[in-house]
């Protein structure tokens, strides 16, 4: 024993003595889920996703897989500087006329581009949320943060009904050490008189392209 216990040992010791006699609950808590009668079809879930994303004043386009490349191309003006993750699927990349490929661009360099094009990992219908796990087509976190416009391609089969479904899909990514970014609409604040204003530090425009 040393005369001065470490902060760690002292805090853990205080915690243990504060909780003397308290029985721990070993089993994780499973939260209730919304029950729909009749159950919602996947098509209805995807419709709800589109509606809820739009509620945040994000743009939502629904396109058939065959039209995706053409539609994406129409979203970017020829003069726009669009950055794409180096791992972005070739078809999507081809939709941008002169893409800036992210090869460890600095934050200052990212600040000079107009838009970013990525895919996503999961869409949550109930809350209108897209979740990125920053896999190959989604780029590192700064990529979808610094540019002012984020165009995000979400496939219908990536859309789940609610948060618990998303947590189940994301568990593997987290176990592998991947960071997650949950995005619900464009950057916003309610700090002035609690009135919501879209557009602060993150992308001021969020454009979701829902495929299928």
């Amino acid at each position: 024993m040393t005369a001065h216990r470490s902060a760690r040992d002292e805090i853990l010791g205080r915690v243990r003595s504060a909780l003397a006699g308290v029985e721990p609950t070993p089993e994780p808590v499973v939260a209730p889920r919304a029950v729909h009668d009749p159950p919602r079809s996947h098509a209805q879930v995807v419709d709800l996703f589109a509606e809820r994303v739009a509620d945040y004043r994000a743009a939502v386009d629904r396109v058939a897989p065959a039209d995706l490349a053409r539609h994406l191309a129409s979203l970017f003006a020829a003069t726009e500087r669009v950055v794409v993750p180096s791992g972005l699927d070739g078809v999507l990349r081809a939709a941008v006329s002169h893409p800036v490929v992210d090869e460890e661009l600095s934050a200052a360099e990212l600040d000079t581009v107009d838009a970013v094009l990525t895919t996503a990992c999961v869409g949550i219908a109930e809350t209108g949320t897209i979740v990125l796990d920053h896999g190959p087509g989604q780029g590192r976190r700064a990529l979808t943060l610094v540019p002012d416009r984020h165009v995000c391609v979400v496939h219908a089969d990536q859309v789940v009904p609610d948060v618990p479904d998303a947590m189940a899909r994301l568990a593997t990514s987290v176990a592998r050490g991947r960071p997650l970014t949950w995005v619900s609409g464009p950057s916003a604040t309610s700090d002035i008189e609690l009135t919501r204003v879209e557009g602060v530090h993150g992308p001021r425009v969020l454009h979701v392209v829902l495929v299928g």
Binding site: R8, P32, R176, G177, L180, S190, D191, I192, E193, V200
Partner: protein
């Protein structure tokens, strides 16, 4: 120079001053009204799911607290395995020293900060300032407070007491002093003000080497920290700097990743009244999945006690550590809505502050903290709104008894203690009570004669009384005691039997077993 809450007067004094500020009351009534309506709409949208969800949220946080040492050890293990450096801090001073030493080891004179209650609680900015390190607040409301050399007054929206015109004035006057000036043609439109903050802070984000954050949740199982935000300033601070220090209260631990589920559904609806907040970041150490670096490659986590174990040792009070800092209790509180947050004298204002501050620092230490459990009408709106079901009224009453216990041996005793002792003496014996009632009836007759105040219904009342009684009568009318006590009436009329028109027997079969005098 930033201000702190040190030396704030007790709640009643501070509240009286705040109540005199009509602009403040207008700003607060507007803002809390807006957020209450938004929250209520979303809670209704959840229908029958909301209550079970609250129970699940409470159960997750309680499960974490009930075996906190085990979960903390697991968190440390997971964080270390993910490449983060874990520090432990017994108190505010120790936590500040850790952050300062990380900043100094990188030779920086500034850090960018994500809004964090833990760093406000430990007064990190003031500590860093003394060491010559500028801490830039990047949340819009925190920026308004910092630029205005003001104090926070709300957990979620620290500048809730400011309206758009005041914010415009602060931006015009102060932005130029610390960085990029506000545009000269700045209007008071919220969009324009948010745009000015974007321009002002962007250069700070792009050059910052060290970021400082708190965390909404820390997952023991995976070592994942979670920051829930709206503006993207959090994402900037969490991803652009090379070094990240997160200051996390030990009660922020959540046992497993899956158990974040109810909390992620409860928090945004309860705090900003949204189905989901714009941005949530979850990261697990210095992330380098697939060998590519993403974000700060040096990650520190400071686990802070600073009174939490004291709160944990209080069997009734420990539930307050379930708090997820949503601030729903502030927005529904009739006291908070009128006094605002400054009167509570702490970074944690409102109903949760009224219990959290005494639990963290202990009762009987200073007058200001001891005044907080009384800053409530016990109406219970806070408990109804709390997403993790903290029974705030129960804890308030419990803390009031602790405050009273702490003053039991005071010499001279408080007027309240003397009054309670006298009441105890009188109620202990029927003949003593009879004497007191006679005296009270006499004073009632005198008061009824002299009184110029009458209550609705015509009953005479005492106005402001002198001496210690002024504390009670200063804000309330004390009804004059009735000329005859119930016991004296019972004796005189044989339980009402000898008094016509009022006896129980005659009233049987009606819903009014006693006589209610008609009012003319």
């Amino acid at each position: 120079m930033s201000r702190t809450f040190v030396g704030m007067p007790p709640f009643p004094t501070a509240a009286r001053e705040a109540l005199g500020d009509t602009q403040l009351r207008h700003n607060l009534a507007h803002a809390t009204g807006v957020i209450r309506d938004k929250r209520l709409r979303l809670v209704e949208e959840q229908g029958d799911l909301w209550e079970p969800l609250r129970l699940a949220g409470a159960a997750v946080k309680q499960r974490a607290l009930d075996d906190l040492a085990t979960h903390l050890e697991r968190l440390e293990e997971s964080l270390t395995a993910a490449g983060a450096t874990v520090h432990w801090a017994r108190d505010a001073e120790e936590a500040c020293r850790v952050v300062a030493s990380v900043a100094r080891s990188h030779g920086v004179d500034e850090v960018v900060k994500v809004k964090s209650m833990a760093t406000a609680e430990i007064e990190l900015n003031e500590h860093l300032e003394r060491e010559g390190i500028a801490a830039w607040e990047t949340d819009l409301a925190e920026l308004i407070v910092q630029l205005g050399e003001d104090l926070p007054s709300h957990i979620l929206v620290p500048a809730i007491h400011r309206n758009r015109a005041e914010i415009r004035e602060i931006f015009l006057r102060r932005m130029a002093v610390v960085g990029r000036p506000a545009p000269a043609d700045l209007t008071d439109e919220p969009e324009v003000l948010a745009g000015a903050a974007r321009e002002h802070l962007r250069e700070k984000f792009l050059r910052a080497k060290v970021g400082v954050s708190g965390a909404n949740f820390a997952v023991a199982e995976t070592g994942t920290l979670v920051v829930v935000e709206s503006e993207g300033n959090g994402r900037m601070c969490l991803t652009l700097p090379e070094v990240l220090v997160s200051v996390v209260g030990i009660e922020k631990v959540v046992p497993t990743f899956a158990e974040l589920d109810p909390l992620m559904r409860l928090l945004p609806r309860s705090s900003t009244g949204e189905r989901m907040n714009p941005y949530t970041s979850m990261w697990t150490g210095p992330s380098a999945p697939d060998g590519t670096a993403d974000g700060p490659q040096e990650v520190h986590v400071v686990l802070v006690d600073n009174g939490r174990t004291r709160a944990l040792a209080d069997e009734t009070g420990r539930q307050a550590l379930r708090c997820i800092r949503c601030s729903a209790c502030l927005n529904v509180c009739p006291v908070y809505e009128r006094t605002g947050g400054h009167a509570y004298g702490s970074v944690y204002p409102g109903p949760i502050g009224a219990i959290l501050n005494p639990l963290l620092t202990g009762t009987g230490v200073d007058e200001q903290t001891d005044s907080l459990p009384y800053a409530s009408t016990l109406c219970g709106a806070c408990f109804e709104a709390c997403p993790v079901r903290i029974d705030i009224p129960e804890v308030l009453v419990h803390l009031r008894s602790k405050v009273v216990d702490g003053h039991r041996d005071d010499r001279p005793p408080k007027a309240e203690a003397v009054a309670m002792k006298a009441a105890g003496w009188a109620f202990a014996d029927a003949s003593r009570l009879g004497l007191v009632e006679k005296a009270s009836g006499l004073s009632g007759r005198v008061l009824a004669r002299l009184s110029r105040t009458t209550l609705p219904g015509g009953r005479p009342a005492a106005g402001r009384l002198p001496g210690p009684a002024a504390a009670w009568t200063g804000a309330r009318d004390l009804p004059a005691p009735p000329a005859e006590s119930f016991r004296a009436w019972w004796d005189r009329t044989d339980g009402g039997r000898s008094e016509r028109g009022t006896s129980y027997d005659q009233q049987q079969g009606t819903s009014r077993p006693y006589d209610v005098p008609e009012e003319s």
